[in-house]
Symmetry: C3
Subunit: 169 residues, 3 copies
Protein backbone atom coordinates (compact mmCIF):
# COMPACT_ATOMS: atom_id res chain seq x y z
CA UNK A 1 0.00 0.00 0.00
CA UNK A 2 1.57 3.25 -1.14
CA UNK A 3 2.14 6.01 1.40
CA UNK A 4 0.55 9.42 0.93
CA UNK A 5 2.81 12.40 0.34
CA UNK A 6 2.08 13.52 3.90
CA UNK A 7 3.15 10.13 5.27
CA UNK A 8 6.27 10.10 3.10
CA UNK A 9 7.18 13.53 4.37
CA UNK A 10 6.68 12.52 7.98
CA UNK A 11 8.97 9.55 7.40
CA UNK A 12 11.68 11.91 6.17
CA UNK A 13 11.35 14.08 9.27
CA UNK A 14 11.36 10.98 11.47
CA UNK A 15 14.54 9.79 9.84
CA UNK A 16 16.25 13.11 10.51
CA UNK A 17 15.05 13.17 14.11
CA UNK A 18 16.54 9.71 14.64
CA UNK A 19 19.81 10.79 13.03
CA UNK A 20 20.02 13.44 15.74
CA UNK A 21 19.12 11.00 18.51
CA UNK A 22 22.02 8.79 17.45
CA UNK A 23 24.33 11.79 17.08
CA UNK A 24 23.55 12.89 20.64
CA UNK A 25 24.65 9.64 22.17
CA UNK A 26 28.42 10.21 22.05
CA UNK A 27 28.09 13.72 23.55
CA UNK A 28 25.88 12.36 26.33
CA UNK A 29 28.36 9.56 27.06
CA UNK A 30 31.41 11.84 26.93
CA UNK A 31 29.85 14.40 29.28
CA UNK A 32 28.25 11.87 31.61
CA UNK A 33 24.85 13.46 31.21
CA UNK A 34 22.52 11.12 33.06
CA UNK A 35 19.83 13.77 33.05
CA UNK A 36 19.82 13.91 29.26
CA UNK A 37 19.97 10.13 28.99
CA UNK A 38 16.76 9.84 31.01
CA UNK A 39 14.92 11.99 28.46
CA UNK A 40 15.73 9.88 25.40
CA UNK A 41 14.83 6.39 26.63
CA UNK A 42 11.42 4.85 27.18
CA UNK A 43 10.51 4.13 30.77
CA UNK A 44 11.02 0.37 30.22
CA UNK A 45 14.05 0.64 27.91
CA UNK A 46 16.76 -2.05 27.94
CA UNK A 47 20.50 -1.74 27.33
CA UNK A 48 22.37 -4.96 26.61
CA UNK A 49 26.17 -4.95 26.31
CA UNK A 50 26.67 -8.70 26.61
CA UNK A 51 26.87 -11.23 29.44
CA UNK A 52 29.94 -9.72 31.14
CA UNK A 53 28.25 -6.37 31.83
CA UNK A 54 25.25 -5.38 33.97
CA UNK A 55 22.04 -5.13 31.95
CA UNK A 56 20.13 -2.08 33.20
CA UNK A 57 16.37 -1.96 32.65
CA UNK A 58 14.41 1.27 32.59
CA UNK A 59 15.66 4.77 31.96
CA UNK A 60 16.51 5.41 35.59
CA UNK A 61 18.94 2.49 35.77
CA UNK A 62 20.38 3.31 32.34
CA UNK A 63 20.91 6.97 33.29
CA UNK A 64 22.54 5.95 36.58
CA UNK A 65 25.37 4.30 34.60
CA UNK A 66 26.58 7.80 33.63
CA UNK A 67 27.41 8.78 37.16
CA UNK A 68 29.41 5.79 38.40
CA UNK A 69 32.95 6.63 39.59
CA UNK A 70 34.72 4.61 36.88
CA UNK A 71 32.86 6.49 34.15
CA UNK A 72 33.64 9.85 35.83
CA UNK A 73 37.31 8.93 35.98
CA UNK A 74 37.29 8.05 32.28
CA UNK A 75 35.78 11.47 31.46
CA UNK A 76 38.54 13.24 33.38
CA UNK A 77 41.28 11.26 31.67
CA UNK A 78 39.82 11.83 28.23
CA UNK A 79 37.47 9.63 26.26
CA UNK A 80 35.67 9.95 22.93
CA UNK A 81 32.79 7.87 21.65
CA UNK A 82 32.71 8.26 17.86
CA UNK A 83 29.73 7.05 15.82
CA UNK A 84 30.15 5.97 12.23
CA UNK A 85 27.54 6.77 9.59
CA UNK A 86 24.41 4.90 10.77
CA UNK A 87 21.85 2.81 8.88
CA UNK A 88 18.32 3.93 9.85
CA UNK A 89 14.93 2.56 8.83
CA UNK A 90 11.57 4.02 9.88
CA UNK A 91 8.32 2.01 9.63
CA UNK A 92 5.30 3.90 10.92
CA UNK A 93 5.70 4.40 14.65
CA UNK A 94 8.80 2.26 15.08
CA UNK A 95 12.31 2.53 13.72
CA UNK A 96 15.68 0.88 14.12
CA UNK A 97 19.28 1.73 13.42
CA UNK A 98 22.52 -0.19 13.02
CA UNK A 99 25.70 1.71 13.83
CA UNK A 100 29.38 1.28 14.57
CA UNK A 101 30.82 2.93 17.65
CA UNK A 102 34.49 3.52 18.42
CA UNK A 103 35.68 4.32 21.93
CA UNK A 104 38.92 6.30 21.81
CA UNK A 105 41.21 7.19 24.72
CA UNK A 106 44.36 9.30 24.93
CA UNK A 107 47.61 7.34 24.49
CA UNK A 108 48.88 8.64 27.81
CA UNK A 109 46.01 6.85 29.58
CA UNK A 110 47.26 3.44 30.60
CA UNK A 111 46.13 0.44 32.63
CA UNK A 112 42.63 1.56 33.63
CA UNK A 113 41.49 0.68 30.16
CA UNK A 114 43.72 -2.39 29.90
CA UNK A 115 45.25 -1.15 26.67
CA UNK A 116 48.87 -0.60 25.80
CA UNK A 117 50.27 2.86 26.50
CA UNK A 118 51.72 4.09 23.24
CA UNK A 119 53.71 6.83 24.92
CA UNK A 120 53.23 10.38 26.01
CA UNK A 121 52.18 11.73 22.63
CA UNK A 122 49.02 13.75 22.11
CA UNK A 123 47.53 10.84 20.17
CA UNK A 124 44.65 8.47 20.88
CA UNK A 125 44.13 4.74 20.55
CA UNK A 126 41.05 2.64 19.97
CA UNK A 127 39.85 1.03 23.16
CA UNK A 128 36.89 -0.77 21.60
CA UNK A 129 34.77 -1.01 18.45
CA UNK A 130 31.20 -2.28 18.65
CA UNK A 131 28.21 -3.08 16.48
CA UNK A 132 25.05 -1.44 17.82
CA UNK A 133 21.36 -2.07 17.23
CA UNK A 134 18.93 0.62 18.36
CA UNK A 135 15.14 0.18 18.44
CA UNK A 136 13.05 3.32 18.66
CA UNK A 137 9.36 4.06 19.23
CA UNK A 138 7.34 7.19 18.57
CA UNK A 139 5.84 8.62 21.74
CA UNK A 140 3.88 11.74 22.56
CA UNK A 141 7.20 13.35 23.51
CA UNK A 142 8.92 12.37 20.27
CA UNK A 143 11.08 9.38 19.35
CA UNK A 144 12.60 7.44 22.24
CA UNK A 145 15.10 4.59 22.51
CA UNK A 146 13.33 1.36 23.48
CA UNK A 147 16.34 -0.92 23.39
CA UNK A 148 20.00 -0.90 22.49
CA UNK A 149 22.20 -3.93 22.06
CA UNK A 150 25.92 -3.76 21.38
CA UNK A 151 28.66 -6.33 20.90
CA UNK A 152 32.40 -5.87 20.26
CA UNK A 153 33.57 -6.65 16.72
CA UNK A 154 36.15 -9.12 17.95
CA UNK A 155 35.40 -12.06 15.67
CA UNK A 156 32.66 -13.63 17.77
CA UNK A 157 29.37 -14.14 15.87
CA UNK A 158 27.13 -11.91 18.04
CA UNK A 159 28.33 -8.64 16.49
CA UNK A 160 27.85 -10.03 12.98
CA UNK A 161 24.27 -10.96 13.87
CA UNK A 162 23.60 -7.35 14.82
CA UNK A 163 25.13 -6.02 11.60
CA UNK A 164 22.89 -8.23 9.45
CA UNK A 165 20.00 -5.97 10.49
CA UNK A 166 21.33 -3.39 8.02
CA UNK A 167 21.03 -5.82 5.09
CA UNK A 168 17.27 -5.99 4.88
CA UNK A 169 17.12 -3.83 1.77
Amino acid sequence: MALTLEERFREVEDRLEIYNLIASHPPSADTGSGEYTRTVWTEDGTFDRGAQFPRPTGRDQIAAGSSNPEHRRALEQGIAHVSGHPYVRVTGDTAFAISYLQILVPDRVGPIFDVPNHGASGGFHIHRVSANRWDFVRTEEGWKIKSRTLRPLDGTPEAREILKGALVG
Copy 2:
Protein backbone atom coordinates in the same frame (compact mmCIF):
# COMPACT_ATOMS: atom_id res chain seq x y z
CA MET B 1 15.53 25.55 -14.27
CA ALA B 2 13.89 25.32 -10.87
CA LEU B 3 12.70 21.94 -9.64
CA THR B 4 9.03 21.41 -8.73
CA LEU B 5 8.17 20.68 -5.11
CA GLU B 6 7.55 17.06 -6.08
CA GLU B 7 11.01 16.82 -7.67
CA ARG B 8 12.62 18.49 -4.66
CA PHE B 9 10.90 16.03 -2.38
CA ARG B 10 12.01 13.05 -4.45
CA GLU B 11 15.58 14.34 -4.26
CA VAL B 12 15.35 14.37 -0.47
CA GLU B 13 14.10 10.78 -0.41
CA ASP B 14 16.82 9.77 -2.87
CA ARG B 15 19.44 11.31 -0.66
CA LEU B 16 18.20 9.36 2.35
CA GLU B 17 18.06 6.12 0.38
CA ILE B 18 21.67 6.63 -0.67
CA TYR B 19 22.68 7.36 2.92
CA ASN B 20 21.34 3.91 3.80
CA LEU B 21 23.10 2.26 0.84
CA ILE B 22 26.42 3.64 2.08
CA ALA B 23 25.60 2.70 5.67
CA SER B 24 24.92 -0.91 4.62
CA HIS B 25 28.34 -1.37 3.11
CA PRO B 26 30.32 -1.90 6.34
CA PRO B 27 27.78 -4.44 7.66
CA SER B 28 27.87 -6.32 4.35
CA ALA B 29 31.68 -6.36 4.37
CA ASP B 30 31.93 -7.38 8.03
CA THR B 31 29.46 -10.24 7.62
CA GLY B 32 30.74 -11.39 4.23
CA SER B 33 27.28 -11.13 2.71
CA GLY B 34 27.88 -11.79 -0.97
CA GLU B 35 24.17 -12.34 -1.48
CA TYR B 36 23.36 -8.85 -0.25
CA THR B 37 26.23 -7.35 -2.22
CA ARG B 38 24.76 -8.74 -5.45
CA THR B 39 21.51 -6.87 -4.82
CA VAL B 40 23.02 -3.39 -4.48
CA TRP B 41 25.27 -3.26 -7.56
CA THR B 42 24.33 -2.83 -11.20
CA GLU B 43 24.94 -5.83 -13.39
CA ASP B 44 27.95 -4.12 -15.01
CA GLY B 45 29.27 -2.44 -11.85
CA THR B 46 33.01 -1.86 -11.40
CA PHE B 47 35.08 -1.85 -8.21
CA ASP B 48 38.54 -0.32 -8.43
CA ARG B 49 40.92 -0.49 -5.45
CA GLY B 50 44.09 0.41 -7.34
CA ALA B 51 46.62 -1.38 -9.51
CA GLN B 52 47.80 -3.85 -6.85
CA PHE B 53 44.34 -5.41 -6.39
CA PRO B 54 42.08 -7.40 -8.73
CA ARG B 55 39.45 -5.20 -10.41
CA PRO B 56 36.19 -7.17 -10.47
CA THR B 57 33.58 -6.24 -13.08
CA GLY B 58 29.90 -7.04 -12.66
CA ARG B 59 28.02 -7.77 -9.49
CA ASP B 60 28.74 -11.49 -9.61
CA GLN B 61 32.51 -10.96 -9.51
CA ILE B 62 32.19 -8.23 -6.90
CA ALA B 63 29.99 -10.39 -4.67
CA ALA B 64 32.39 -13.33 -5.04
CA GLY B 65 35.07 -11.30 -3.23
CA SER B 66 33.06 -11.71 -0.01
CA SER B 67 33.50 -15.46 0.10
CA ASN B 68 37.23 -15.83 -0.48
CA PRO B 69 39.10 -17.66 2.32
CA GLU B 70 41.25 -14.67 3.30
CA HIS B 71 38.17 -12.52 3.83
CA ARG B 72 36.47 -15.31 5.83
CA ARG B 73 39.53 -15.60 8.06
CA ALA B 74 39.49 -11.83 8.66
CA LEU B 75 35.84 -12.02 9.75
CA GLU B 76 36.64 -14.73 12.27
CA GLN B 77 39.56 -12.80 13.71
CA GLY B 78 37.55 -9.61 13.99
CA ILE B 79 37.33 -6.73 11.55
CA ALA B 80 35.32 -3.51 11.39
CA HIS B 81 34.78 -1.27 8.39
CA VAL B 82 33.75 2.14 9.71
CA SER B 83 32.36 4.81 7.40
CA GLY B 84 32.77 8.49 8.17
CA HIS B 85 29.99 11.00 7.49
CA PRO B 86 29.58 10.91 3.67
CA TYR B 87 29.14 13.68 1.10
CA VAL B 88 26.23 12.83 -1.22
CA ARG B 89 24.87 14.65 -4.26
CA VAL B 90 21.82 13.59 -6.27
CA THR B 91 21.18 14.88 -9.80
CA GLY B 92 18.07 13.40 -11.37
CA ASP B 93 18.65 9.70 -11.94
CA THR B 94 22.31 9.65 -10.96
CA ALA B 95 24.12 10.42 -7.74
CA PHE B 96 27.57 10.19 -6.28
CA ALA B 97 29.15 10.11 -2.85
CA ILE B 98 32.58 10.75 -1.39
CA SER B 99 33.35 8.97 1.85
CA TYR B 100 36.18 7.97 4.18
CA LEU B 101 36.45 4.37 5.26
CA GLN B 102 38.52 3.01 8.14
CA ILE B 103 39.33 -0.69 8.43
CA LEU B 104 39.92 -1.63 12.07
CA VAL B 105 41.27 -4.92 13.40
CA PRO B 106 41.78 -6.20 16.95
CA ASP B 107 45.23 -5.53 18.39
CA ARG B 108 45.72 -9.25 19.08
CA VAL B 109 45.52 -9.95 15.33
CA GLY B 110 49.04 -9.94 13.97
CA PRO B 111 50.87 -10.72 10.76
CA ILE B 112 47.99 -11.63 8.45
CA PHE B 113 47.25 -7.94 8.17
CA ASP B 114 50.90 -6.97 8.12
CA VAL B 115 50.41 -4.56 10.99
CA PRO B 116 52.19 -4.38 14.32
CA ASN B 117 50.65 -6.39 17.14
CA HIS B 118 50.05 -3.92 19.95
CA GLY B 119 49.58 -6.67 22.53
CA ALA B 120 46.80 -8.79 23.90
CA SER B 121 44.54 -5.91 24.95
CA GLY B 122 40.93 -5.66 23.89
CA GLY B 123 41.81 -2.70 21.70
CA PHE B 124 41.83 -2.18 17.94
CA HIS B 125 44.19 -0.55 15.49
CA ILE B 126 43.68 1.07 12.12
CA HIS B 127 44.68 -1.22 9.31
CA ARG B 128 43.83 1.21 6.52
CA VAL B 129 42.07 4.49 5.72
CA SER B 130 40.76 5.15 2.24
CA ALA B 131 39.03 7.81 0.17
CA ASN B 132 36.03 6.38 -1.67
CA ARG B 133 34.00 7.60 -4.64
CA TRP B 134 30.65 5.93 -5.26
CA ASP B 135 28.56 6.46 -8.40
CA PHE B 136 24.92 5.44 -8.23
CA VAL B 137 22.10 5.11 -10.78
CA ARG B 138 18.36 4.92 -10.30
CA THR B 139 16.93 1.64 -11.59
CA GLU B 140 13.48 0.07 -11.49
CA GLU B 141 14.60 -1.76 -8.34
CA GLY B 142 15.85 1.39 -6.61
CA TRP B 143 19.28 2.99 -6.44
CA LYS B 144 22.24 0.77 -7.29
CA ILE B 145 26.02 1.18 -7.15
CA LYS B 146 27.45 1.56 -10.65
CA SER B 147 31.07 2.06 -9.65
CA ARG B 148 33.23 2.46 -6.61
CA THR B 149 36.83 3.61 -6.56
CA LEU B 150 38.97 3.75 -3.46
CA ARG B 151 42.56 4.72 -2.71
CA PRO B 152 44.49 4.72 0.59
CA LEU B 153 45.16 8.15 2.09
CA ASP B 154 48.88 7.53 2.24
CA GLY B 155 50.17 10.73 0.70
CA THR B 156 49.96 9.63 -2.95
CA PRO B 157 47.89 11.97 -5.13
CA GLU B 158 45.19 9.47 -6.21
CA ALA B 159 43.24 9.66 -2.94
CA ARG B 160 43.31 13.45 -3.03
CA GLU B 161 41.87 13.39 -6.56
CA ILE B 162 38.93 11.35 -5.26
CA LEU B 163 38.33 13.73 -2.35
CA LYS B 164 38.14 16.74 -4.68
CA GLY B 165 34.79 15.36 -5.86
CA ALA B 166 33.27 16.65 -2.60
CA LEU B 167 34.33 20.23 -3.34
CA VAL B 168 31.99 20.92 -6.22
CA GLY B 169 29.70 23.07 -4.08
Copy 3:
Protein backbone atom coordinates in the same frame (compact mmCIF):
# COMPACT_ATOMS: atom_id res chain seq x y z
CA MET C 1 3.90 28.43 16.56
CA ALA C 2 3.65 25.50 14.18
CA LEU C 3 5.63 25.61 10.96
CA THR C 4 3.83 25.39 7.62
CA LEU C 5 4.48 22.35 5.42
CA GLU C 6 6.58 24.57 3.16
CA GLU C 7 8.70 25.72 6.12
CA ARG C 8 9.07 22.16 7.38
CA PHE C 9 10.19 21.06 3.96
CA ARG C 10 12.73 23.85 3.70
CA GLU C 11 14.12 22.81 7.09
CA VAL C 12 14.66 19.30 5.76
CA GLU C 13 16.52 20.61 2.72
CA ASP C 14 18.56 22.93 4.94
CA ARG C 15 19.52 20.02 7.14
CA LEU C 16 20.73 18.01 4.15
CA GLU C 17 22.67 20.97 2.77
CA ILE C 18 24.44 21.34 6.11
CA TYR C 19 25.19 17.61 6.20
CA ASN C 20 27.06 18.13 2.93
CA LEU C 21 28.88 21.22 4.20
CA ILE C 22 30.22 19.21 7.13
CA ALA C 23 31.05 16.27 4.86
CA SER C 24 33.10 18.53 2.59
CA HIS C 25 35.36 19.69 5.36
CA PRO C 26 37.63 16.63 5.56
CA PRO C 27 38.12 16.56 1.76
CA SER C 28 38.96 20.26 1.77
CA ALA C 29 41.45 19.80 4.62
CA ASP C 30 43.05 16.70 3.10
CA THR C 31 43.50 18.34 -0.30
CA GLY C 32 44.55 21.74 1.06
CA SER C 33 41.85 23.49 -0.95
CA GLY C 34 42.04 27.07 0.24
CA GLU C 35 39.98 28.17 -2.73
CA TYR C 36 37.09 25.94 -1.69
CA THR C 37 37.45 26.94 1.95
CA ARG C 38 36.94 30.59 1.00
CA THR C 39 33.57 29.77 -0.57
CA VAL C 40 32.03 28.11 2.50
CA TRP C 41 32.81 30.66 5.21
CA THR C 42 31.22 34.03 5.86
CA GLU C 43 33.43 37.02 5.26
CA ASP C 44 33.80 37.59 9.02
CA GLY C 45 33.97 33.91 10.03
CA THR C 46 36.05 32.84 13.04
CA PHE C 47 37.96 29.61 13.63
CA ASP C 48 39.01 28.88 17.20
CA ARG C 49 41.22 25.88 17.99
CA GLY C 50 42.24 26.94 21.48
CA ALA C 51 44.81 29.28 23.01
CA GLN C 52 47.89 27.47 21.64
CA PHE C 53 46.90 27.98 17.99
CA PRO C 54 46.47 31.11 15.87
CA ARG C 55 42.86 32.27 15.66
CA PRO C 56 42.20 33.37 12.09
CA THR C 57 39.35 35.81 11.45
CA GLY C 58 37.66 36.15 8.10
CA ARG C 59 37.57 33.67 5.27
CA ASP C 60 40.78 34.93 3.70
CA GLN C 61 42.83 34.21 6.82
CA ILE C 62 41.07 30.89 7.37
CA ALA C 63 41.68 29.80 3.77
CA ALA C 64 45.33 30.84 4.01
CA GLY C 65 45.87 28.15 6.65
CA SER C 66 45.50 25.51 3.91
CA SER C 67 48.56 26.62 2.06
CA ASN C 68 51.14 26.85 4.83
CA PRO C 69 54.22 24.63 4.32
CA GLU C 70 53.58 22.44 7.37
CA HIS C 71 50.10 21.58 6.13
CA ARG C 72 51.45 20.84 2.62
CA ARG C 73 54.04 18.49 4.09
CA ALA C 74 51.32 16.67 6.06
CA LEU C 75 49.33 16.16 2.85
CA GLU C 76 52.32 14.63 1.11
CA GLN C 77 53.03 12.28 4.00
CA GLY C 78 49.42 11.18 4.24
CA ILE C 79 46.69 12.55 6.47
CA ALA C 80 42.99 11.85 6.87
CA HIS C 81 40.42 13.95 8.68
CA VAL C 82 37.45 11.69 9.46
CA SER C 83 34.14 13.12 10.66
CA GLY C 84 31.82 11.09 12.85
CA HIS C 85 28.05 11.24 12.43
CA PRO C 86 27.14 14.88 13.24
CA TYR C 87 24.33 16.40 15.30
CA VAL C 88 22.65 19.20 13.31
CA ARG C 89 19.87 21.58 14.27
CA VAL C 90 18.32 24.20 11.97
CA THR C 91 16.30 27.13 13.31
CA GLY C 92 15.11 29.49 10.59
CA ASP C 93 18.13 31.18 9.05
CA THR C 94 20.70 29.83 11.50
CA ALA C 95 21.89 26.37 12.32
CA PHE C 96 24.55 24.64 14.35
CA ALA C 97 26.25 21.28 14.44
CA ILE C 98 28.26 19.30 16.96
CA SER C 99 30.68 16.76 15.52
CA TYR C 100 33.66 14.60 16.37
CA LEU C 101 36.72 14.76 14.15
CA GLN C 102 39.60 12.28 14.05
CA ILE C 103 42.92 13.17 12.44
CA LEU C 104 44.67 10.02 11.23
CA VAL C 105 48.24 9.72 9.95
CA PRO C 106 50.16 6.76 8.49
CA ASP C 107 52.14 4.77 11.07
CA ARG C 108 55.35 5.32 9.07
CA VAL C 109 55.05 9.08 9.64
CA GLY C 110 57.03 9.89 12.73
CA PRO C 111 58.24 12.94 14.65
CA ILE C 112 56.63 15.72 12.64
CA PHE C 113 53.36 14.86 14.34
CA ASP C 114 54.99 14.10 17.67
CA VAL C 115 53.39 10.67 17.78
CA PRO C 116 55.03 7.28 18.18
CA ASN C 117 56.02 5.50 14.99
CA HIS C 118 54.33 2.13 15.11
CA GLY C 119 56.53 0.69 12.38
CA ALA C 120 56.59 0.48 8.63
CA SER C 121 53.17 -1.17 8.26
CA GLY C 122 50.47 0.20 6.02
CA GLY C 123 48.45 1.14 9.10
CA PHE C 124 47.40 4.49 10.56
CA HIS C 125 47.25 5.93 14.04
CA ILE C 126 45.09 8.60 15.62
CA HIS C 127 46.92 11.88 15.91
CA ARG C 128 44.06 13.78 17.51
CA VAL C 129 40.32 13.62 18.32
CA SER C 130 38.35 16.80 18.79
CA ALA C 131 34.88 18.04 19.64
CA ASN C 132 33.67 20.62 17.12
CA ARG C 133 30.93 23.22 17.20
CA TRP C 134 29.88 24.78 13.89
CA ASP C 135 27.57 27.78 13.58
CA PHE C 136 26.00 28.41 10.19
CA VAL C 137 23.97 31.22 8.65
CA ARG C 138 21.80 31.29 5.57
CA THR C 139 23.05 33.78 2.98
CA GLU C 140 22.03 34.63 -0.56
CA GLU C 141 24.70 32.18 -1.74
CA GLY C 142 23.47 29.36 0.48
CA TRP C 143 24.52 28.23 3.96
CA LYS C 144 27.92 29.41 5.17
CA ILE C 145 30.07 28.69 8.22
CA LYS C 146 30.08 31.66 10.60
CA SER C 147 32.21 30.13 13.30
CA ARG C 148 33.88 26.87 14.24
CA THR C 149 35.34 26.03 17.62
CA LEU C 150 37.20 22.81 18.37
CA ARG C 151 38.91 21.34 21.41
CA PRO C 152 40.77 18.04 21.84
CA LEU C 153 38.93 15.40 23.89
CA ASP C 154 41.81 15.02 26.29
CA GLY C 155 39.98 15.24 29.60
CA THR C 156 40.00 19.02 29.91
CA PRO C 157 36.52 20.54 30.37
CA GLU C 158 36.44 22.70 27.21
CA ALA C 159 35.64 19.82 24.86
CA ARG C 160 32.86 18.63 27.13
CA GLU C 161 31.33 22.12 27.08
CA ILE C 162 31.18 21.94 23.29
CA LEU C 163 29.57 18.50 23.33
CA LYS C 164 26.78 19.66 25.62
CA GLY C 165 25.44 21.64 22.67
CA ALA C 166 24.10 18.36 21.27
CA LEU C 167 21.99 17.71 24.36
CA VAL C 168 19.42 20.44 23.89
CA GLY C 169 16.74 18.01 22.77
